[in-house]
Amino acid sequence: MSTISSELELLVNRKLDGTISPKEQEVLDRILSESEEAVRFLRDMEKLESSLRGVAREEIKPELSQEVMEQIHIKQKHVFGAEKKSFKMHFRFQRRQLFRYAAILIIGLLIGSAATLMLQPGRIFHNTGDMSGTMAARSGEKLAFSHDSWQVEINPMVVDQMAILIISVASDRPLDVNLSFDTQAYRLSRARYLSGTDIGSAIQAGSISFGVSGKAVYQIVLNQYSGMSSPVFLELTQEDQVLYRKEIVLQ
């Protein structure tokens, strides 16, 4: 059990801030000379402080002023109505708006396609017999794996160098789903829990795993490095027993 006192915590924090007084330093020195645990505490806190100060900070300088001023202008137009604008400005707004609508339309189509595919049993590729080996996953074609007590469906969407996987899992008993990939070929861009019961998940470099009991749906987005091709690996385990292991080639 930890015996770190609140007095020691305060003194160490003041030391890290550089605001410790000579008298407080004396007290701290005394505590340190009497307790190994206190020495360890100070050492860990100093290490944390130096790591926090040294953590790589990404300084990005985006150019937002034009965009912001345009948004303000559009809002003002809505508020005040008949504000006159030059043709050039007007054209620029129209063009930007058009891009936005196009982007929304594309996203809508992607979501719509995914939803449609999920509802089309005729296009499901079932694989229940062979519990290992390699299989191809074509974009837009649902893969389904099932057994008596569990069912897993994967909807892959491969667009340019991005693979979106919607993974639906249903299981009577707790089931662990692990998806791993080569970090030379893929970079995990996003992993989201969309619905159902999530009973624990973990992300590591090159793998994502989640536990399901009942039903759950996940979205995993992988960015593919240019020119790199590599399968992803799906593994299902229950009570430390591997039930299913498959190498999936995304196409």
Binding site: E9, N13, V68, Q76
Partner: protein, 181 residues
């Protein structure tokens, strides 16, 4: 700087709206970086940074000329990040990987290890409650003093210190479980 900015704000309020571009230009990087450190998502940080400036423009008439513009805009940014994260909470059950981590980066073993330690630390910061994360981000990444953080968060300095101390303690406890030390 303070008086110069006050003068710009007065001109904007007087109808010279294009002057606002100067304020956006001066603070866009700082606002973006605060949002990025709070969320670790580039696209969201950029979109929210725009929202922050638009929101600030709309509220500019309420600016009281007592605090500095930077603390006012940082406050809006932090609150925007917190609100955004609360809205998105349903989608944050899975641990999110900070976007700027390139697992292929680093040419030697030491660089790889440093990178891994950065990843572990950044992930731990992301798991902190927003109130602690905001203080950690402003203190370590924006290098604000306790007085400046207090001004941004509208908290007494004492409270800022206690949040920072508690934040460090929580980080230590999370990192201990991952053999960070």
């Amino acid at each position: 700087m303070k008086n110069e900015e006050f003068e710009i704000i007065r001109r904007i309020l007087g109808g010279e709206t294009q002057e606002y571009k100067k304020l956006v230009h001066n603070y866009q990087a700082a606002v973006y970086n605060v949002l990025y450190q709070m969320l670790h998502q580039h696209t969201e940080a950029e979109e929210l940074a725009q929202d922050v400036f638009v929101k600030a423009y709309e509220k500019l008439a309420t600016f009281n000329f007592q605090s500095r513009f930077f603390s006012w805009i940082f406050r809006i940014a932090i609150n925007t990040a917190i609100t955004h994260q609360k809205k998105a909470q349903r989608f944050l059950q899975l641990e999110r990987l900070p976007e700027d981590i390139d697992h292929n980066a680093g040419n030697n073993e030491q660089q790889m290890m440093d990178k891994e330690r950065d990843v572990i630390l950044k992930k731990a910061i992301l798991r902190l409650k927003e109130t602690y994360r905001a203080v950690i981000v402003l203190h370590y990444f924006e290098q604000l003093s306790y007085a400046e953080i207090a001004e941004v968060l509208e908290l007494p300095e004492k409270k800022v210190k206690s949040r920072l101390y508690d934040g460090r303690k929580l980080l230590k406890s999370m990192l201990e479980k991952q053999d960070f030390f």
